[in-house]
Structures are given as structure tokens and as C-alpha cells.
């Protein structure tokens, strides 16, 4: 009985140590975490595209031969990894060459802050500042439903994106804008999308971030068509 007790205790210790190691070694983003206190200063976006490349809800020439549609939630950490890692790589490799356009759609589902962020971005889009706010939100993610995109912080991020705050303040209270964001989420569900980010390229659809080589191969194949 004593040996069993000792083995159970050791198992518990090993398990707890394993969990601690998992949390300690967790490769969090090397970018600084934005402050959650009142003196919050928004961080700059990872990708600042060249003039004229960010238009409407996308990145890249409007007549690019390949269009990649990305459904995201502003609170989703993997979407942050997409926006701050994969997307800048695609920008350098394809977008600047005029080969690819990346279109962004909202699939807000994680919580109220996701909807508030998407509404804020739609209002920035009305001022032709979609990308400016969209990219800053991903630079300023901090947990889910913990206030990273509270009204106060969203306004500060919008301000840092150069948004006309008077017009933006009015716009974000417009129920039609919110309804548009909710309609996007409903459309995502109808398409069978269950998570974010979800990528759509032609008739290919996949959730998560694919391996770079796989994604490049799909884009290259689409370019050859």
C-alpha cells in the first residue's frame, strides 16, 4: 500500500511539474504585452504596408490574380499569430508583387469585445482606415474578454490609427454597423466555418494557420491557373 501511495504521489508531482513546464516554456509572442492600466499606449502594428496597398477591407491590388479570404476574430490569439507573422510574410512574398490580395472578413464569436472591435474597425473603414485600425488591434491583443478591447482602449487604439474620433464615436453606436458584423458571423457559420482564422482560397477552405510551404504551394498553384 505504501508503494502505491508513493507512486501516486510521485505521479501527481510529475504531472504538476509537467504542467508548470508547459506554462513556463510556452513560447509567448516576443512582442511586448500592451499595458492594461489607464496609461495604456497602443503598440504600433507589425506590418505597415506601402502606400496604396491597403484598400477597403484588404491588402493588395484589387485586380490581383489570387484572392485569399481570411475570417478572423480580433480576440483570437491564433489570428494574432496570423496577422503578426504569416500575413507579413505573405505581404513580402506575394502582395508587394501584385500576385495576391488578402481580404478580411469578421467572424466575431469569442465575446463582446470581439464584436466591439469589429464594429470599431468597420467605422474606421468608413474613413478608409480599415487596415490602420485592424492591424493595430492585432498588435494590441491581450487575452480574451479581459478588457483589451474595452471601449476606452478601443478608442485609444482608434486614435493612434488616425481615426476621426468624433465621427467614429457616432458610428460605433449605429445599430446597422453592429448588425453588419453579426451578419458576417452568421455568414461564416453558414459557410461551415467553426473557428478562426479560417482561410478560403478558391474552393479550398481550412481553419488555423497552415504550414508556410503548404500555403505557398496553394497560392502558387492558384497563380498558375
Amino acid at each position: 500500500m505504501e508503494m502505491i501511495r508513493r507512486a501516486a504521489l510521485m505521479g501527481l508531482v510529475v504531472g504538476v511539474v509537467g504542467v508548470v513546464i508547459l506554462f513556463l516554456s510556452n513560447p509567448f509572442d516576443s512582442k511586448p504585452t500592451p499595458s492594461m492600466t489607464g496609461d495604456f499606449t497602443p503598440l504600433a502594428p507589425t506590418l505597415i504596408p506601402a502606400d496604396g496597398i491597403a484598400t477597403d477591407h484588404g491588402l493588395g491590388a484589387a485586380d490581383a490574380p489570387v484572392v485569399l479570404t481570411v475570417w478572423t476574430d480580433y480576440q483570437c490569439p491564433i489570428c494574432g499569430a496570423w496577422a503578426n507573422g504569416t500575413e507579413p510574410a505573405l505581404y513580402e512574398r506575394y502582395v508587394t508583387e501584385g500576385k495576391l490580395r488578402i481580404e478580411h472578413r469578421h467572424y466575431s464569436f469569442i465575446g463582446e469585445e470581439s464584436f466591439a472591435a469589429a464594429v470599431g474597425v468597420e467605422c474606421a473603414a468608413k474613413q478608409n482606415l480599415f487596415w490602420a485600425l485592424h492591424s493595430r488591434l492585432y498588435a494590441n491583443q491581450s487575452g480574451e474578454n479581459q478588457g483589451a478591447f474595452s471601449a476606452e482602449r478601443l478608442r485609444k487604439i482608434a486614435d493612434s490609427a488616425g481615426v476621426d474620433l468624433a465621427a467614429w464615436d457616432t458610428c460605433i453606436t449605429d445599430p446597422a454597423v453592429r448588425a453588419g458584423v453579426e451578419a458576417d458571423a452568421e455568414e461564416a457559420k453558414k459557410l461551415g466555418i467553426t473557428g478562426t482564422p479560417t482561410l478560403v482560397l478558391g474552393d479550398w477552405m481550412d481553419s488555423g494557420i497552415p504550414a508556410s510551404d503548404d500555403l505557398y504551394a496553394r497560392i502558387d498553384a492558384a497563380l498558375k491557373k
Binding site: L22, P77, A81, T194
Partner: protein, 146 residues
């Protein structure tokens, strides 16, 4: 061989297969299985692409594979030989694996916000394997006390 041993061996073997498959997917040997067809449990790719799917350079699936192999071998050896050391190893690995699996399930719920069906199935094999190890240990304790 008792029913606890048979259950432990069966579920650990299934755990070995699932973790080997997930590892194969991760390193590109197998095609991705999962996605929208899995309904609410179709977030495998998001979970597997997340920062929680590895400890440093080591994929969690590789650790799971080793863990399930230990559970399988220990359950089998104890079932065949009744060696005490095998039972201790079975129990130790089962409890340690269960603690880590519970943490991984909570991480999917609280941090990632998506469910990976395959990962949950794997977690179930570990938890059932651990329950079998505890059952076998209690039976052993009763038999040595008698």
C-alpha cells in the same frame, strides 16, 4: 489478466495510435484529419498551430506518444508478470498523464477557445488508462493486505 489490465492496455494502445497520428500530421507525414466536418470539435488545426502544442521544440504529441507507450508497456508487463515495479510505473504515468491532460483540456477551453476532437479523444484514453491503473493498484493493495 484482470479487466482493469485489459482496459488499460486497450485504451493505451488507442492512445499510442492517436498520438502517433497527431504527431505524423504535425510533421507532415499524414494529411490533416479534422475541420468543419467535426462540428464544434473541428478546431484541431487551430489547437495544433497554437503556442500550446509544444514545449520548446518538442511537440506535445511526441510527449503523449511516449506517455501512452509507457502506460501500454507498464499495463502489459504488470498484467503478465504481476511485477510491482510495473504497477508503480503504470500508476505514476497514469496520474502524471492525467494531470497534464486535464491542463491541456482546460487550455483548449480557456486560452485557445476551440476544441480539437482528436486531442480530446487522446485525452480520454489517458484518463481511462489512469483509471484502470488506479483500479489495478487498489486490487493489488487489497490482495497484499489479505
Amino acid at each position: 489478466m484482470s479487466r482493469a489490465h485489459r482496459i488499460g492496455i486497450t485504451f493505451s494502445a488507442v492512445g499510442v495510435l492517436i498520438s502517433a497520428f497527431i504527431l505524423g500530421e504535425k510533421i507532415g507525414i499524414f494529411p490533416e484529419v479534422c475541420g468543419p466536418a467535426w462540428g464544434p470539435f473541428g478546431g484541431c488545426k487551430t489547437v495544433e498551430a497554437s503556442q500550446w502544442s509544444s514545449i520548446g521544440p518538442i511537440p506535445i504529441a511526441a510527449i503523449g506518444l511516449i506517455g501512452s507507450l509507457v502506460l501500454l508497456v507498464a499495463a502489459y508487463v504488470h498484467g503478465r508478470t504481476k511485477r510491482e515495479e510495473a504497477l508503480m510505473l503504470w500508476l505514476l504515468a497514469g496520474i502524471a498523464g492525467s494531470a497534464i491532460e486535464v491542463a491541456l483540456i482546460l487550455i483548449q477551453a480557456l486560452f485557445i477557445g476551440e476544441w480539437c476532437g482528436k486531442c480530446l479523444l487522446y485525452g480520454a484514453t489517458v484518463l481511462i488508462g489512469a483509471a484502470a491503473a488506479i483500479s489495478a493498484s487498489l486490487a493489488y493493495a487489497r490482495s497484499t493486505r489479505a
